[in-house]
Symmetry: C2
Subunit: 109 residues, 2 copies
Amino acid sequence: MEPATTPDPPYYAVVFTSVRDARAGDGYEAAAARMLELAARQPGFLGVESAREDLGITVSYWADEASIAAWRQEAEHRWAQEEGRTRWYERYSVRVARVERAYGGGRVP
Amino acid sequence: MEPATTPDPPYYAVVFTSVRDARAGDGYEAAAARMLELAARQPGFLGVESAREDLGITVSYWADEASIAAWRQEAEHRWAQEEGRTRWYERYSVRVARVERAYGGGRVP
């Protein structure tokens, strides 16, 4: 996954942090990939960054709060369909934040 | 690494995303660990979450903007000392965001 290329602030970030229930072959990775594809087609989607070790962190970037609210409604519905009776997360947290400043360095994509 | 336990919003998040220059044994992991220990001793530090695959994401949480400004000054100085002439990142971005809402689920730490 590449770093997200986002416009100048302000915009919004949704920081999703999770600890997986350890269980291979439960279809989680495929379902998560489908959710990312779905997110990328939502109005107001700006980009996403994701990494997982013990802890998984996915940061998605959005133009405004309305885009996030629409995505949340869609995502919860779809995720419930995907998940079925399986519990994929031991725990998770979601933080919605307004990006106020951004800077960086190194090679420009 | 465990998920961070943070107070009720508002507070601040610094999302640091990076792509490493691929180079094992360059002392990066030890230097990064020392930087996290140093961050944890800063006034206003609330917690940190980190994961790395191709992309590394570290989200640190802070009480207010003044804490972030103080940490940035300290961090840039220390990091320059640690890094020496080595280039540890191919590229990176820093986003400073105000956390406005937070929720979660699953087992409480």
